[in-house]
Subunit: 484 residues, 2 copies
């Protein structure tokens, strides 16, 4: 092994092991040497041996198994084509102003009527992946020590301790916020409502990614706002060119809502250069930039990515985030930092739901202030990566030819493109009859563009039941595709 | 003492004691005989002696003091004139469509900048009046037994146990609701937002009581709705004639919001006949009727009054309520039952903030299912009555001539009419300089009608500090009145 390179030692060692795996001398499933063996074998410190294993893990060449060490795996090479990049020139379709409500209501009604055995329509991990015990312990402690949590009035803006922890963690994403610039909300969805109500009036046009999560389309419709869908790359997210074009064509875009990291449903991640251009474009055009940070902590990355707001010099970026899917689905904790609209957003929050209850904030804040939070996130990411990959393998195996898929670098779900003409509504119906609930593509756009897509949750531990359900789904998709 | 009457024994005894108090043979402050002495004196059972004391207490002739028995008091006879009844013919003033936001923002900003020693601007009891320990115990138990409260997703509509308790209690107010017709919200304020969003579009006109609490005026303005203020009696609440007249004059009233019991700020209580006429009028005119039940449990009454919704035969009444001020100010628990708009309100709730966290619902639901809840309410009402009366006495003593006041039959506050021309804004400013925060009348109407009123909280235990503050306030009001 050459030592002339300037790479750190653990990186050199990682390259060595990757070579061994690629050459087949280390087979997938084989156990890697223990930390102690690695230290002896390569004459390195414990910390270097640890960094080596973590690097192999985060690059996808090894996986940790609880209490038994690291095991070789091969990063996914799917037997499926990736999705096409969108055409930035697409003229917005007036039909897309049509509402999403009735479709979602229909979806909800059918879901309620059905006997759902496996829910793949959500975007959430299974309960056992969340640190319920530690959070319960922290909340129990807070209840014991602080009677005022029940009898006193919740403080303005949210619990100061929690806001301080959030402001501190925001530094890693490049945001410099004082705790008073953090306003706690009932989940990210309330943050988005407040952001939109602060910057726009009913009748105004809001640019959104296409496809986007139907929750956002519902919010827009319920507020009387018009969604202008902007083509979005499955790799790099919102097309800045397309937004530029739309801004030139429609002079009146009031705001744009983007999910820069692990976009829902695409899983795309915006490169930093795109984020910067977006900030500039929005500044120049007077478009408020609303950043939805819901999934960032689920990104498989050594460093947390920079928030769009980290480039905000004018207060034009509104940052919205949530703990709901990364820390505890039972808690409805989100937050917003609204730049130049902060005072207006605070007033709207007070008017809409008053201050949040403190207890869950206190519990979450205590937990997030410790190393346990990052350990939890690391475990969650590792579990999700393996579940995404196994789901993708099953799709490659069971779904009809012509199915396409991008494997996103993190997150809770896969966005699956069925063969052209294979209507997601039909797949949804047939699957529901088998007790399998999927999120049909038509929910993710007001246009017909996503009608032949499905979004599948990867939050459940991969097992025979999931595998069987994916085989069933693949069979259904094949039938629908052949009949199309 | 005659025994020929058909009144129950305890009632006869109560009349006897009332006579003695009115005759002056029992002086205010004197200790009533102990339960044991009453039993011997009148040869009655313990339960009759207890009923006697409770009756004297609820009629206002005695007050219980923790661990030392019952003491004589005299129901209030104030040396002040009551307020005038409003003129139902008042033509709505277009100026009242002007916003409340800037005034409230100004109020909030000044409050934050000041060093507040005593806050009389709130509408809430002191923390010690709420059953924090029992609620904390119930919540701690729930946390121990139910990990899914943290890691699972909160159920649709709210915790089923809590909704069941709410539906059960609603029966006493004449409402027949299934638990599935109860939707849990973040306080009554969210319920009001949802109700208004369900029935009206921006630009629509909503009839409200005048004066009304500024929270409602803020909600209307933030939703782009126009408040049409309807004259309201300090005794009997919303003037049905005035609403009828307004409906004839302005054909386009979309909804009316009323607080039938202990209206904020007036403290008025609508007679049942008015409630019935209101239901009929709204049905006939196609006006949605939104009932805000926030304070009902604080009414001094042997029987809970009937909710407006109890007369609703068409689904036209939306019932909104809250636990925030009667059970626990630290919990943000409210609920809504929206009649024919139920599905739409559920959808808007999901879109605005998703389902509520479960823990506080579980704690509140457990507590409310026991007799402890009614005991708590009884204690709270008793304390508030004495505090209201002492505050009223102090106002009679310290405030300038021409001050007027109605003593409401329950609730957290007094609405004080200063002599004509005595601007509440000036009183507010001067009081704040002394560290006393009051709610100035101008916040309670978009018109100038309430400019010479103050709303004073009676939730603090009456003591020398409160008494001193009321004397200071009276002095300030006198100065402002003389300068006017
Ligand atoms: C991108 C995105 N933003 C916001 C939300 C809502 O977040 P919360 O549950 O925190 O309200 C979701 C959930 O579906 C989401 O996917
Ligand atoms: C009449 C009335 N309704 C509703 C509210 C708000 O209630 P909650 O705190 O439950 O949101 C208030 C509080 O000020 C009020 O006075």
């Amino acid at each position: 092994m050459s030592t002339t390179t300037t790479l750190p030692l653990y990186r050199q060692l990682a390259a060595h092991y990757r070579g061994a795996i690629e050459a087949g001398s280390l087979q997938p499933g084989a156990r890697l040497p223990s930390l102690r063996s690695l230290m002896q074998l390569h004459d390195v410190s414990l910390s270097t041996a640890l960094q080596l294993c973590r690097t192999l893990e985060s690059d996808g060449w090894a996986e940790a198994r609880e209490r038994s060490g690291y095991f070789v795996r091969r990063p996914q090479r799917l037997g499926m084509a990736p999705m096409d990049e969108p055409d930035a020139d697409v003229q917005p379709d007036p039909a897309q102003y049509v509402g999403i409500h009735s479709r979602v209501s229909d979806f909800v009604a059918r879901r309620r009527a059905a006997d759902v055995k496996l829910n793949l329509s959500i975007a959430r991990a299974a309960p056992q992946f969340y640190p319920a015990d530690a959070l319960r312990a922290a909340m129990t402690r807070a209840l014991r020590l602080h009677p005022e949590l029940v009898a006193g009035v919740p403080p303005l803006r949210g619990d100061p301790q929690f806001r301080t922890v959030l402001a501190k963690r925001a530094v890693a994403a490049g945001m410099v916020l004082s705790p008073d610039e953090v306003l706690v909300t009932n989940g990210c969805i309330e943050a988005l409502n407040l952001a939109l109500r602060a910057v726009a009036q009913p009748g105004d046009t809001i640019a959104v990614e296409s496809p986007t999560f139907y929750g956002l389309l519902q919010v827009l419709e319920s507020l009387g706002l018009r969604a202008l869908e902007i083509p979005t790359s499955p790799q790099t997210g919102l097309s800045i060119e397309a937004l530029e074009l739309a801004a030139r064509t429609y002079g009146d875009i009031k705001a744009v809502v983007v999910v820069p990291h692990l976009q829902n449903p695409l899983g795309s991640v915006m490169p930093d250069a795109h984020k910067q251009r977006l900030v500039q474009l929005c500044d120049a055009q007077g478009i408020a930039l609303i950043e939805d940070d819901t999934y960032t902590e689920l990104l498989d990355a050594e460093q947390p990515p920079r928030a769009i707001k980290s480039w905000d010099a004018t207060g034009n970026v509104i940052h919205c985030a949530s703990m709901h899917k990364i820390l505890a689905p039972g808690l409805r904790l989100g937050w917003i930092s609204a730049g130049r609209w902060q005072a207006r957003v605070e007033m709207l929050k007070y008017t809409q739901s008053r201050n949040n209850e403190v207890l869950s904030q206190r519990g979450a804040g205590e937990f997030m202030a410790t190393g346990a939070y990052d350990r939890h996130l690391r475990r969650l990411r590792t579990a999700l990566r393996s579940q995404r990959e196994r789901t993708a393998e099953a799709i490659a195996k069971y779904f009809p030819e012509g199915t396409r898929l991008n494997l996103p670098p993190g997150g809770l779900q896969l966005w699956v493109e069925l063969p052209a003409g294979c209507a997601s509504a039909q797949v949804f119906d047939a699957a529901l009859q088998q007790g399998i609930l999927v999120a049909p593509g038509f929910l993710f756009s007001n246009s017909a563009r996503s009608d032949h897509f499905l979004r599948l949750n990867c939050g459940w531990p991969y097992d025979a039941e999931i595998d069987g359900a994916l085989r069933t789904l693949g069979g259904i998709a094949g039938q629908v595709a052949r009949a199309a």
